[in-house]
């Protein structure tokens, strides 16, 4: 569904992302992990169009999207959440969804929404998402006044409301307690059941190992491993990257985790 080909982004001399090859397959939950500063967030910013790549290209559903603006990528079906929650704080819960929904709904003035039949379906879909995010009873509250967990849920359903087929979740479990993380786990699975593909960037290993079908591991802007959670857990290079062991020669690819599985 999404392919990153030789994708690089350099900031001066720093290779934040370097020659990254990654494929997100239709319908999967792919985890993207790595130590701090390994290039995860830069990768998300490259996919969503916040940064332009220094080299390489991005392809979504067969179409090259490297040159598209951020909102155009959302229109094509890629949406994201943010590591530090970014809601429209002075808009209501419903308006937050509405702002994202507008893309799919006949543009600005809303003729299509008002006069054509597809519109009601869109509104109903947004209503369903409100229920899904457990926020239906708070629809008229200002987003900025919601509790932390509720804000995270709103951000998640706002991304889904844009009609995205691919959701990039940038550390959605940050700051959550065990119960909330369990809740998030369930929601991510449900989103996939609804036919969405998910790229999960996360530090919380239990969640990643639990929910992901496959995991890719970044270190120093490069992919050092890719495979099922079990494969990745066994991978010596991954252990080295996380535990800081430097006995292992990092230049050799590890046998347990083939690069292009």
């Amino acid at each position: 569904m999404l392919e990153l080909r030789h994708l690089s982004r350099h900031f001066g001399g720093v290779k934040a992302v370097d020659e990254l090859e990654l494929e997100v397959r239709q319908g999967e939950i792919l985890g993207l992990i790595g130590p701090n500063g390994s290039g995860k967030s830069t990768t998300v910013n490259l996919i969503t169009g916040v940064y332009k790549p220094t080299a390489g290209s991005l392809h979504f559903k067969g179409q090259e999207i490297s040159g598209l603006a951020a909102h155009q990528r959302t229109e094509l079906g890629i949406a994201r959440t943010f590591q530090n929650i970014r809601l429209f704080g002075h808009l209501t819960v419903w308006q937050n969804l509405w702002a994202a929904r507008v893309v799919r709904q006949g543009g600005w003035v809303g003729f299509r929404e008002r006069w054509l039949s597809g519109a009601r379906a869109a509104r109903e879909q947004a209503e369903e998402l409100l229920v899904f995010g457990d926020l239906a009873h708070k629809r008229d509250l200002l987003a900025g006044n919601l509790a932390f967990g509720e804000q995270r849920r709103l951000e998640l359903i706002r991304a889904a409301a844009s009609g995205a087929e691919l959701l990039l979740l940038d550390e959605p479990a940050a700051g959550m307690n065990a119960e909330e993380i369990h809740d998030l786990d369930q929601r991510i699975r449900l989103l996939r059941q609804q036919g969405r593909t998910i790229l999960l960037i996360e530090h919380h290993m239990e969640l990643v190992m639990e929910v992901c079908d496959r995991i890719a591991v970044l270190n120093f802007g490069r992919k050092i491993a890719e495979g099922t959670p079990a494969q990745v857990q066994q991978n010596a290079q991954v252990r080295a990257a996380y535990l800081g062991t430097d006995e292992i020669d990092q230049s050799k690819p590890s046998p347990e985790a083939p690069h292009h599985a």
């Binding site: 951020a70 909102h71 943010f82 429209f88 808009l91 209501t92 702002a99 003035v109 008229d140």
Partner: protein, 294 residues
């Protein structure tokens, strides 16, 4: 009575000017260019009635559209800069407009003599109101009808998806983009609509002033324009109107006896509002006025 009618004219015109800045501020942009758009509307509408002999309504409409078109043209490059840099860029634009009219000379022979902008001497003889026997009351009715119509249109816009989009962009540009909102369209439309409203206000101003000159359109005018919605609060349109009444009616006219110290009070007022009510006089929690959302 005449004093109050004259004051009501000023309040009406400044309300339109404040509303034009309100549109742009909604998308999180601070524009000092509103005085420039006001000037363009004033000169274009004034030239159409006095030099080309047009009726008032089409002249005002063309003046507003011309200002709006220039605003859209300014909006595109202005997209590339934010915050302070946008303030600097729009200030420069406002000065360009003012200096253009400082140098612009184009006079034609009409039945009433040689009429037209005369560079630094200004543009006199915009005598549509006197020659059509409009009283000050008539002019007031026209101004307040326009203010009312603008308020209704903006209240409707604010409740429609356009308002939601503008606010979303004003809240967080990055999040808005990620939600699929086209930043260019949102910002340029706000500039364009704001420009039209400023141009309309300028057109009416030119006609009741009958003589306009570059000095009318300096930075002070633009400062007033953005001060109103900031003092009144962005969450409600009525706040802008109240702020104009307060600044023009109470502060500038009511305190005339203290002389030029009034200008100082204006600055102090903005500082005080920022300290005491950072979201403006009419905050959401007060729940007053137009444009408030459920």
């Amino acid at each position: 009575m005449d004093f109050y009618l004259g004051l009501a004219q000023v309040i009406g015109i400044h309300t339109l000017l404040g509303l034009s800045a309100w549109c742009v501020l909604h998308t999180g942009q601070v524009s000092i260019a509103q005085g420039g758009f006001f000037a363009i509307g004033a000169y274009v509408a004034g030239m159409l009635t006095s030099m080309a002999g047009w009726p008032l309504a089409p002249a005002l409409a063309v003046g507003a559209l011309a200002a709006g078109a220039v605003a859209v043209a300014v909006g595109f490059p202005a997209l590339r800069v934010k915050g302070l840099m946008l303030v600097v860029a729009t200030t420069a634009f406002a000065e360009i407009v003012r200096l253009f009219f400082f140098n612009f000379k184009w006079r034609v022979q009409t039945a009433e003599g040689l009429i037209g902008p005369d560079a630094s001497l200004g543009f006199g003889g915009i005598r549509y109101f006197p020659s059509h026997a409009w009283s000050t009351l008539d002019v007031n009715l026209l101004i307040w009808a326009l203010v009312g119509a603008t308020l209704v249109v903006l209240a409707w816009l604010d409740r429609s998806r356009v308002g939601t989009l503008w606010r979303a962009v004003g809240e967080d540009e990055l999040a808005a983009q990620s939600a699929g909102i086209n930043l260019t369209a949102a910002k340029v439309s706000a500039f364009g609509i704001g420009g039209c409203i400023a141009g309309l206000a300028g057109g009416v101003f030119a006609h009741y002033a009958t003589h306009i000159e570059h000095n009318n359109f300096g930075i002070l005018l633009a400062t007033f324009a953005i001060a109103y919605p900031i003092i009144g609060g962005l969450s409600s349109l009525a706040g802008t109107l109240l702020a104009v009444i307060f600044v023009q009616g109470v502060l500038l006219e009511g305190l005339r006896f203290i002389g030029d110290w009034r200008s100082l009070l204006f600055g102090a007022l903005i500082v005080a509002v920022m300290l005491v009510r950072p979201s403006g006089l009419l905050q959401r929690s007060l729940g007053l006025g137009l444009g408030r959302r459920a």
